[in-house]
């Protein structure tokens, strides 16, 4: 980033550089090959994939995207828009809840000693040991009792419950990495304890909070099993559930599936692109000696 930091390859010999680049190219191809297939499928006509070494779309067309989004069919496109909104709303709400609950909790766990701190943290850790699916049945029953089945709110509650503990651990680490000196300096400068948190610790932890929010967003955005279990009404589907419906028991519309997969990926990629500065940034570095 900064001009003083030399990249790892800048001092390498041409041969070394060639080898490193070759390895990286292989790695990129390895990672992107399936993605290229998906793109090729999405833009091809016909529903069966033809196997070729190099995935190029044949008869380039946007038909698959039209199918997925219900182009020209008002009812269908309205439904798709609604499902897209479901995904967005659920994921955003999950991310916000995770950050709003986890940030103060993590801060307290990083900065204060109190009774039950250790056992509380161990319990939180314990909940992380079981995948959400393991509790799918009880969750179903609970949501049923609360009349929250088939609702976005129910899904958000379930997602937030799994996202919060992880977010707490992530953010606690971030707060521990921020020197206490900074907040003490703020208090000597005239800040209250709360102002020291809001005006110094919080901004210093912003990159970590962004990452945490992104993680929570993505885990909700991609989640399928719980969504499929807890949502039965088509208009309440999230996109992963919609996507799955193209993989039928008897015939699979691969082209539509691929187009749907791309539509699902685009918002996440966009988010990463927007947040990349926060993700890489070492914002805390430099405030304290080092």
């Amino acid at each position: 980033m900064s001009s003083t930091e030399a990249g790892p390859t800048s001092r390498a010999s041409p041969l070394e550089r060639f080898i490193v680049n070759a390895l990286l190219i292989v790695a990129v191809v390895y990672a992107l090959y399936p993605v290229l297939w998906v793109i090729s499928l999405a833009f091809s006509s016909g529903s069966t994939p033809s196997l070729r070494a190099f995935p190029l779309p044949h008869d380039v067309t946007l038909d698959n995207f039209r199918v997925v989004t219900g182009w020209g069919d008002t009812a269908k496109s309205f439904l798709f828009a609604r499902q897209l909104m479901n995904s967005l709303v659920v994921s955003l709400a999950t991310a916000s809840m995770a950050v709003f609950i986890a940030t103060p909790t993590a801060y307290a766990l990083a900065r204060y000693e109190f009774v039950g701190k250790r056992s509380g943290m161990r319990t939180l850790l314990l909940t992380q040991m079981f995948p959400g699916v393991a509790s799918a049945v009880p969750l179903y029953l609970i949501l049923d009792t609360l009349h929250l089945l088939d609702t976005r709110s129910g899904l958000v509650l379930v997602y937030a419950a799994t996202a919060v503990p992880f977010a707490i651990f992530q953010l606690r680490g971030a707060f521990l990495a921020i020197p206490v000196d900074l907040e003490e300096a703020a208090m000597v400068d005239g800040a209250t304890r709360t102002q020291a948190f809001l005006k110094v610790a919080l901004p210093a932890a912003r990159p970590a909070i962004a990452v945490t929010a992104l993680f929570a967003f993505m885990s909700a955005w991609n989640e399928f099993i719980l969504a499929a279990t807890l949502i039965g009404r088509e208009s309440a589907f999230t996109l992963p559930v919609v996507l799955q419906s193209y993989v039928g028991e008897y015939n699979t519309s691969w082209g539509a599936f691929a187009a749907g997969a791309i539509l699902v990926s685009v918002p996440v990629m966009a988010l990463f692109y927007v947040a990349q500065k926060q993700l890489i940034s070492g914002l805390t570095s430099g405030g304290v000696k080092g």
């Binding site: 000196d181 003490e184 208090m187 000597v188 400068d189 005239g190 800040a191 005006k199 304290v288 000696k289």
Partner: protein, 401 residues
């Protein structure tokens, strides 16, 4: 012990600096009466768990004075500073700032500014943001903020850096920003916690002078904490030596250096360290001598007075800078078997032994003398009687003050 020592060392060093600032100093605008100390700490104790760190510390810093608290690492210097700042709470005792008892007040109500060892610059704010932070919190009018920031920035040469983030600054620049952040506040007292310890040696010497210059210009009451005796000696109006949770000695630095009251102070200040030898007082032809460890040195009756009793056991203290070649028939005090000669250019130090079983002893040589002294040779060394230090071996207290 410290109580007695402080009362004994009568000279109060309210030596207000004579240097007149070219501009009216901001600190003088809010200075209260001269008589009462700007900052006073009385009988302050502090423990962490079962470990007692401060055991009754007393400090009094007159308005406009530069006080340096010096002591070995881990002796509680930072703890004391944090108590004054309000970042820790005292177990007992009172802390008064500008006549107000602040012992139980939170940091924001104490009107102190602190320069942290780590600088603790806010990483998400630019240099300007860092300087403005405290003023904005205190709802200072915008025009006043701009004026003070401009003033501090020009004083410290920070103008070209105002738009940068801390991570884009060098160590020396960060240090200056940390000082600027304190200066814009115009606080009752400036607190410095080893502000130079993260700088390289050359920069440290430079900034040391700059800190003293700033102080003389602002006449800002300062409490500066360090384990570095050079910083302590060069910066202080009054030196406070902290050891084992108590102030062992206070006074103007040269006085403390020349008349240390305890073996601890004697060996802590001065580099190379003062040589300590076990010995006894003997009397010969009406004169008293300190004898032991290969040394036999004439003592000054006037200085030590009644404490010179024949046969009394003493610890003999001689600073390497006071031990030199015996010249032109001056009576030598010992014969030093030279092991190494360290030539520093302007001067040299001969390390060696007086006795095979004794401790290593250091003597100072002029650059010219050093050329003729070879490792393995023996040299006759002398010390002026007025430069001898004697301590009671049991209490560690100096004799004859």
């Amino acid at each position: 012990m410290s109580q007695a020592l402080q009362e004994a060392s009568g000279t109060d060093s309210a030596s207000i600096k004579a240097a007149a600032p070219s501009t009216p100093s901001p600190a003088s605008l809010q200075s209260s009466g001269r008589a009462a100390p700007r900052c006073s700490v009385r009988g302050v104790t502090k423990s962490f768990g079962d470990t007692s760190i401060l055991k009754g510390v007393d400090l009094a810093i007159p308005d406009g004075s530069f006080a340096v608290l010096v002591g070995p690492s881990g002796c509680g210097k930072s703890t004391l500073l944090r108590l004054v700042a309000g970042l820790e709470e005292a177990d007992a005792g009172t802390i008064t700032l500008a006549g107000k008892d602040v012992t139980r007040l939170p940091p924001r109500d104490r009107d102190v500014a602190m320069v942290f060892q780590s600088y603790a610059l806010y990483p998400h704010l630019t240099v300007r943001g860092n300087l403005e932070f405290g003023l904005e919190l205190r709802k200072t009018p915008r025009a006043e903020i701009d004026k003070r920031v401009a003033e501090a920035a020009s004083m410290l040469g920070l103008e070209p850096l105002l738009g940068r983030l801390p991570k884009q600054l060098s160590g020396g620049q960060r240090q200056r920003v940390a000082m600027g952040r304190a200066i814009v506040r115009r606080p009752t007292i400036f607190l410095f916690d080893e502000p130079l310890s993260n700088l390289d040696a050359a920069l440290r010497a430079e900034v040391r002078v700059e800190i003293r210059r700033l102080h003389d210009r602002l006449k800002a009451t300062t409490l500066y904490v360090t384990h570095d005796q050079v910083e302590a000696m060069t910066l202080a109006d009054t030196l406070w030596v902290l050891n084992n949770g108590l102030v062992e000695q206070k006074g103007p630095p040269l006085e403390v250096y020349e008349r240390p009251r305890t073996t601890f102070v004697a060996t802590f200040l001065g580099s190379p360290r003062m040589t300590m030898l076990d010995g006894v007082i003997v009397r010969e032809k009406g004169c008293f001598y300190a004898e032991g460890g290969g040394v036999r040195a004439l003592l000054d009756d006037d200085r030590f007075g009644d404490s010179l009793v024949e046969g009394r056991n003493v610890r003999i203290g001689i600073r390497p800078h006071d031990l030199g070649l015996a010249k032109n028939g001056a009576p030598s005090v010992a014969e030093l078997k030279v092991e190494i000669v360290e030539a520093l250019g302007s001067e040299a130090f001969a390390h060696g032994w007086l006795r095979a079983s004794g401790p290593s002893v250091v003597a100072r040589l002029d650059a010219d003398e050093a050329r003729s002294v070879r490792p393995g040779s023996a040299i006759r060394v002398a010390v002026a009687p007025s430069r001898m230090h004697l301590f009671d071996p049991k209490t560690g207290l100096a004799l004859g003050l």
